[in-house]
Point group: C2
Chain length 416, copies 2
């Protein structure tokens, strides 16, 4: 039988919206991929009665409950005492956990505050989950019929503990019944969610054994194919057939069939060809470079970006002709062509990619409204440019759309 899981996030900072709950999404994704059925996420605040009542009720309905937050050193951190209350056991000091916390502070030459001692108190009978990258250990115990895993809310600590310690325990709980859910993620760019759903409306009829999910990962859309029941090889073949069908339907809008984002796909294309890239950014303000350099190993192909916000930087550093800017303005196909060419030459790169546009909220005109972007591509075979208009979202969303549109134009060129 498939195990049912609940995910609980605690803390007033999450409840009041001061912090976005990225932990729940991460945990749900990990559990789903491990073949566990996530049925609910809940967020509640730092109140011991609310917490212990929620733990008791989750312990009745689910097989596995994963809880984050409330293990810190402050008075707000009530998870351990609420778990003890829900299970009807006292809190006790764990000597090994105490030693681990002391070791953590010593190894970093940091002062251990008195309040950190609280983090070594656990419900009686709980097993400690070590935290190799932070001060708050977690713990696991049974409440009702469910096995609970408690972890700190600090994302990088929680992720490490989930991967190294909680997921192996979850797999043991699954016994022979668990296993990976087969899924594939197709990354796309260039249309909205309902347009994507409409284009793929026939999928359900053609592949009734598979399930399709759409996810806005702005500015693109991820399409997720979930495999059904059956022998892994057969499910895998069906998924491949589904992927191929979707690629035929969507054509150039498919960025990758493994979920890779645009910047990684562009990087892999350049790397495979032994070619290099230089960028000139005005309206994207460094975002194209930031995205490209988030990919490990990007120094193999990414040489330089000139973020030329000032026109004097466009002329002085990229060699754009002041006459071009005077004649056409900074936001124009002719200007971005010279920017792309200038970046390419300045860095001796195979390609140059340039953006100039109006991210807003100010600076728009009737002829060039906020949301206008010109994108230039300089190649060994010549230079070309395009103009696009994106009307929705604020300044950051426009920068994200501009950057993706530029990377996508280069991808289209590289893929011929």
């Amino acid at each position: 039988m498939r195990l049912r899981a609940e995910v609980i996030s605690t803390g007033d900072e999450v409840l009041t919206g001061a912090v976005v709950d990225t932990n729940a999404a991460y945990l749900a994704e990990q559990l789903t991929e491990a073949g566990v059925g996530v049925v609910r996420h809940t967020v509640v605040g730092d109140r011991q009665d609310t917490l212990s009542e929620l733990f008791r009720s989750a312990g009745k309905g689910a097989d596995i409950v994963v809880v984050t937050g409330g293990l810190g050193p402050t008075q707000d951190d009530l998870t351990a005492s609420a778990a003890a209350e829900a299970a009807g056991v006292p809190l006790v000091l764990d000597a090994a956990a105490m030693a681990g916390i002391e070791r953590y502070f010593r190894s970093r030459n940091r002062h251990m505050s008195e309040t950190n001692r609280k983090q070594a108190m656990f419900p009686e009978g709980a097993r400690v989950i070590e935290n190799p990258v932070g001060t708050a250990p977690g713990f696991t115990m049974t409440i009702g019929k469910a096995v609970f895993f408690f972890m700190p809310g600090v994302p990088h600590e929680m992720r490490r503990m989930m991967a190294d310690q909680v997921l192996p325990s979850v797999r043991k709980l699954q016994g022979g019944e668990g296993g990976q859910n087969l899924t594939r993620i197709i990354s796309t760019f260039g249309f909205g969610e309902s347009d994507a759903a409409q284009r793929l409306a026939e999928f359900v009829g053609r592949f009734p054994d598979l399930r399709l999910g759409f996810q806005v990962k702005y500015p693109g859309i991820l399409i997720k194919i979930y495999g059904g029941d059956g022998a892994p090889e057969a499910v895998s073949r069906r998924i491949e057939a589904g992927v191929a069908w979707i690629c035929t339907k969507l054509g150039q809008r498919v960025v990758s069939v493994d979920g890779s984002p645009l910047e990684r796909v562009v990087g892999e294309l350049l790397k495979k060809r032994g070619e290099t890239l230089a960028v000139a950014e005005s309206c994207t303000g460094g975002l194209i470079s930031h995205l490209l350099t988030n990919v490990p190993g990007s120094s193999d192909y990414f040489l330089f970006s000139g973020v030329t916000y000032a026109n004097t930087a466009k002329t002085g550093i990229l060699g754009v002709s002041p006459e071009t800017i005077a004649a056409y303005g900074a936001v124009h196909e002719e200007t971005v062509k010279e920017m792309a060419d200038g970046a390419r030459k300045a860095a001796c790169a195979t390609y140059g990619l340039a953006t100039s546009g109006i991210a807003g909220p100010e600076g728009g005109t009737a002829e060039k409204p906020v949301g206008t972007v010109c994108i230039g591509v300089a190649t060994p075979a010549g230079i070309f440019a395009e103009r696009r208009l994106f009307t929705f979202g604020g300044r950051l969303m426009k920068k994200q759309m501009f950057a993706a549109a530029a990377l996508d134009l280069l991808r289209g060129y590289l893929q011929g």
Copy 2:
């Protein structure tokens, strides 16, 4: 009496963790700031029985329930029919909503698909909430004793509808009793959450009427002061006293007392002084520029960033001496000093700010491990550099910490 609210997010893509639930945080923050007490967030999947059961139970416990998702055109979108089921009413077509959807598609010259008609079906008695920026209208109705507001899950559509239509309705429901919760957000950089809590441990004793919250907004920490009961002027004076006390305790670690992030504070300092900035980025890969240019109006002071990933770009474009790189390496105080000076001179800026480091996962050595960053600052009065080591997090978290450390070093200099 203070109204109690629940926030519900629906959709398999949220439940399985494919999408991070940023909507719940946004809604909770808006409701909290409006003086409503948020008591719970819940995420459930696209199943009509689960949804209608949850709506019924929320309708018993809360005064206000805000629901996002499930209003789209696809078969997965079950929110309207689940709400109808929970309230025991049929679904009916709303002619005005239908006309609005048709208008939306016509104005964008887009094809309206058959499935979009489904988005004009609402529970009988519901009042439609218009969606001026998308295809899915929302609706409001009573279920049990709670007023429900249903909105689409697309963040920028939901935010617009929340601000323009839902919040004004919430304020009406509050009658004379509502009002703003008085809060202040102090932005800090340079320590961890438990260190911050320890330094401010005496706050509770000194200001028993105020409440303090800590929020990791990586790579900084936000400290939130919540005002207590009482006349607004008196509460406001107490909060100011609390802010002043915290500033004394934390000194230079306080970035702003209005929640402004580093890039905005640096920008405001430059603007006030009529000065300009040029940046040279190696390990931060464009992130410093991206952050600076996220601030509207940044073109007043931000002139140029040279993202010089390749050493040839450091020498060719920034004028770093090849001998310096040969003698010290790309990651060194001497190199970032020349980078900062080169960027400053190339763009004729008042200041130059430069980073070079090792973001990983590869490229570390015993002498310069992954996490090492050198930061250079060039000023009219001279050039200086610092070296730091940040050991935790992956490539992106290291880039974020490096960029913040660089901006913070410049901030410290500008604030003298």
